[in-house]
Subunit: 128 residues, 4 copies
């Protein structure tokens, strides 16, 4: 008998307070980027909305991103094709709210090649 | 219909046990620094107080930092102009308590260029 | 009298949304890898099952990994001998669900030498 | 009126599943190390016990570390003088349980200079 679960898990609201998409990056293999990685272990497809918050400018909304049941996607904030066509401004500090209609698990990671070496950081965002 | 939320979220007390502001740093693009990144998704402006705790010296208080409703700010601990004029001592291990009169979300990140390459670390602090 | 505890601690379900096993890596000392580090402070041996979730391919299950009581193991996702013989695909974004029949504590870390320097990231996964 | 708090905060049990003290490191400024950073915002001094857990060897206990009220200490696992004289084995994966008689906040960080560049990682451990 297995002790693995196929039921849903996670939260429906996630908050990333340190987001930043660098314009510079002389990486050999990768350009600098950041990813909002989303894991849906449930049996229902999830629909995700993002709100981007800034210092001194209006929030930007990204709506209706789909994540199939029992799948994982690393959503690159530098890839408009993964963001319903939205271009995230570069070199601007911001924060991200992720809202989902199904419980999901989010992890935020950044790969920076500015100097030009390669550094990674990751965290599980705050969830409610 | 959207599943995004405009109500407040977060906590009012956040605790960073590993803070450190390096004096050295030969970065090409950035000097070494650390940031307390704060996201306020609520409809009310927030007022933040910081207490810095040390090993063998008295705590330092920074009071009355403002963060507007529905905005995000990356507060650089190396920028007295973002800290009500307080100069944080460099090369000294310390910890930070962030208290807010509104629920907010905090993330702590450090960029270090000591050696002289570029490395990042980030985490969501402990909250109550 | 000691204030340390020998009772169990932790959770039985852990979720890592950003997993990735790089194929490249010219490290001097280490090859690039990622580890699911598991701490069992309880008096009972634990049995762990992993489910790997992908974008556009079926999940992979890894079953019956053993972790003795009062021990710690850093499970390398690049080591089939620690994964019941399963070879994790390289260069593919994925997510990991860890299920345990006993409470355990999990931490996820990645060491990347792609460029070819050495960078680390770590986080405590989401748990339920 | 201030909204800062002087009451205690935190937890009394913290668990780090990925600890590792490298023997190698050709750092210009720092040797490779890891730190268990502890923040005590309360009015009472705290006494800390550590248990180190391994894969295939018995746990090691470190007892009676003191942390004054309203202070912060970055406890270097490479410094026997901060660990009651205990020498932590190098190049061995392990995990750490931190038990405190007062609520405290813990953050775990590692600085690695193996290759020989400089990389940082940090996380808030799991707490109960």
């Amino acid at each position: 008998m297995s002790n693995t679960s196929t039921s849903s898990a996670g939260k429906t609201r996630w908050y990333i307070a340190d987001a930043y998409l660098p314009s510079c990056g002389r990486g050999e293999t990768w350009e600098g980027h950041e990813s909002v990685c989303v894991l849906n272990v449930g049996a229902a497809d999830a629909t995700l909305d993002f709100i981007l918050y800034f210092d001194g400018r209006e929030p930007i909304e990204i709506k209706g991103l789909k994540l199939p049941a029992r799948s994982n996607r690393h959503i690159g904030m530098h890839k408009p094709e993964m963001l319903g066509g939205v271009e995230v401004p570069r070199d601007v500090p911001y924060g991200i709210e992720v809202a989902s209609d199904q419980p999901v698990i989010v992890q935020y990671s950044r790969l920076d090649v500015t100097q030009p070496n390669f550094t990674l950081m990751t965290t599980i965002p705050y969830a409610e």
